[in-house]
Symmetry: C2
Subunit: 201 residues, 2 copies
DNA sequence: CAGCCAACCAAACAGTTGCTTGGTAGGTTA
DNA sequence: TAACCTACCAAGCAACTGTTTGGTTGGCTG
């Protein structure tokens, strides 16, 4: 049986939960909501999962693992600074398209979740990647492709937030292709942070 | 007694509630949390307010009234398109600084609240201002100050979201002045969307 | 002084929450 | 055929939720 097409019941329930968490927020979604959407009773969920919290945990940790793995590959590649920025941004938009629910949960609830012991790993990898980004941007500054009149920490936040915030309006399968969004965002972004004359159209 | 410096108990409670709503989310904040922070019992809140929902309502409607009033003034002014964009962005950052809690609640909970009848006015004025923005951007395009290779709807979302998302990390009274943030954001933004920043447009 | 009022307390209420328990239907394996 | 397994049901529990009620306090005012 190809696992890629056949979801186990457990995976199906996780997908249902993720969609609800994404659209209403974790706190606003009850275990009865999830059970209803799956066509079972709320207690039956506990045959598959320890708790509601562990569902959230599994959804977010799985997603973060995959995304940060992809980013790692890019960062470790031989691309130059500018190409890395572009590749990471495109990979992020790709995640926005293919794992929309997970990104939405991450954006809406992760900040609060991170305060608890259980979800500290979210913050850990976030901090780790902030360092990678900062090195990349400093590298770009040195290489003369990035303008130097900007606070680099602020540029990092700008690039990071600008991509993810699109989860609020972008809908997979909607009228606008994710590649189009990525193209336009990169156009604005790169001419905004690049040193004048260094970019090519 | 000057009212500008002395808050009524009611206003003080609203401020306390707003801070909690902002940091933990509306659904994640109980009336007992608010009462505890104010040093009273939860039931006593109902001497001042009809319901928890009406607290949220008052916080958001008051804020929206003020912000959109300021925006209205700018839009009706004689400034050119580019200056208007800049003025609105600066006014928004100013709101981010002076009404941080309200902006945070708006960013985190408004989307969900808008689905209910009571908070429909939030969506109404949002939609109304989207139209104003679109006219402004088209005006800028015609005047030749905006690059024409971008989807104007996407530019609108980009400008709007980029400003507000800063509520996630900006802290009033922190190490970075809001004017600095505004300056740098505008630098990136305007060279990103302006015609003069285009290479081989 | 009496009357009034804003602000609050103490105790409870009904509904909702996440979760537990003991049991069952139907399929697969030995 | 018996043992076992996955997936579920039915019922309920304790904790927590927003809210209500009747009463108390201390300061102000006529």
């Amino acid at each position: 049986m190809p696992e890629s097409t056949t979801l186990s019941r457990r995976e199906e329930l996780l997908r249902i939960a993720a969609e609800l968490f994404a659209s209403r927020g974790v706190k606003n979604t009850t275990v009865r909501d999830i059970a209803d959407a799956a066509g079972i009773l709320s207690g039956s969920l506990y045959h598959h999962f320890d708790s509601k919290e562990s569902m959230v945990d599994e959804i977010l940790s799985t997603f973060q693992e995959e995304l940060f793995g992809t980013w790692d590959d890019i960062m470790r590649s031989k691309l130059d600074a500018r190409a890395k920025v572009e590749a990471v941004v495109r990979a992020s938009f790709d995640a926005l398209d293919k794992h929309h629910s997970e990104v939405a949960i991450y954006q809406n609830d992760a900040a609060y979740l991170m305060e608890s012991e259980r979800f500290a790993y979210l913050k850990d990898r976030n901090d780790q990647f902030r360092e990678v980004w900062m090195r990349l941007l400093r590298e770009g500054e040195k290489a003369g492709v990035l303008r130097t009149d900007l606070d680099i920490e602020l540029v990092y936040r700008f690039v990071r937030d600008t991509v993810w915030v699109a989860v609020r309006w972008y809908r997979p399968g909607g009228p606008m292709a994710i590649e189009t969004v990525a193209d336009q965002y990169l156009t604005i972004l790169l001419s905004g942070i690049s040193k004048e004359g260094t970019q090519r159209g």
